[in-house]
Assembly symmetry: C3
Homo-oligomer: 140 residues x 3
């Protein structure tokens, strides 16, 4: 096995950060064949993000959203791009800041996440809908 | 085909965000040979960035620059590193925040960008000059 | 040679940004076998980060920490997650913003970093302790 690719459709979620590790890699039988490799998730949207953060206390997710709303405010006076509402342009800023993808090492069939790490979907729109993630796995 | 690497020199641009998808991958005949793979762009500078955002409305680029100038201000009182001017240290902050590279899945000879996604050059200096990007493609 | 993976334990450092290029890749004999490839470093923690920035003037590191403390303040009124202290939740924000990993092209046995680029450890806790980085190298 060397390369594998699939598309995962994440169900619609409210604005904020959500732990999606299980949804993205929960039943990934393809991992079993990888001794050393990399797992890549890429979100095909410009108003949502993928990043890595704590998988335990949900207050990390709510506080991350609080910082984000405080620092990239809806309807800030300097934003002109608001065709889709006050949450439109802030969502784009967050997409570039948090990033569209995560790349995680694989060893002996398992993602090498730290004990406290998980994959966060950043849903940056009020009504973002479902989100497509392209999963690519390479390894030996 | 498994690995390919080249250097693309992006022409000098004014400070701000610029859509460079075509300049980076517009005539990429090497992509045709890739069934499943990844495209990596890496900018060899510490005052410019690569990220992914909307490829349509140019106001996303100007608003992203507005947020950036507002939140990482030129000549902020807490910056000591200003040998090259008031835009020097803010450019370094932006380089780490937006990142030096983007990694994009490939399928059947095409980048798997979402409908509205493109690659942004963040030019964070007033007079940044041309910028080198190392493009690496791997796949089968 | 196609794949290689190892774990590097970075020694404990004070809060702030630290240049760790040599510690991560200084004696990397495995690189010599790579003609074209990619080097990936992934930090297994949610209160530290890896990013790329200037390898020369140390004031870039101290100023980057100053911006970070100013913009993601310890003990901000909107943070609820403070079980481990005022630096707890800000460290999580920084982990997602700066990112858990860096991906760097390799050519003819050498990382293709620009002249002024190095790898930064962002230590975002007051007492973070040692930090594990998974290094994965792929190439031909």
């Amino acid at each position: 096995m060397s390369w594998f690719q699939t598309v995962v459709s994440l169900r619609a979620r409210p604005r904020g950060f959500h732990l999606v590790t299980d949804e993205l890699v929960g039943h990934a039988s393809y991992l079993r064949q990888v001794r050393i490799g990399l797992w890549h998730g890429f979100i095909q949207h410009t108003s949502a993000s993928l990043s890595i953060n704590e998988n335990a206390d949900p207050s990390v997710r709510t506080d991350l959203e609080r910082w984000t709303r405080e620092s990239i405010p809806d309807g800030a006076r300097y934003f002109a791009h608001d065709a889709e509402g006050d949450d439109d342009m802030p969502a784009h800023v967050k997409a570039s800041l948090f990033g569209a993808g995560v790349l995680i090492p694989i060893r002996d069939g398992h993602l090498q996440l730290g004990t406290w790490q998980g994959i966060y979907l950043g849903e940056h729109r009020d009504l973002g809908g479902s989100r497509n993630v392209i999963v690519t796995v390479m390894g030996e």
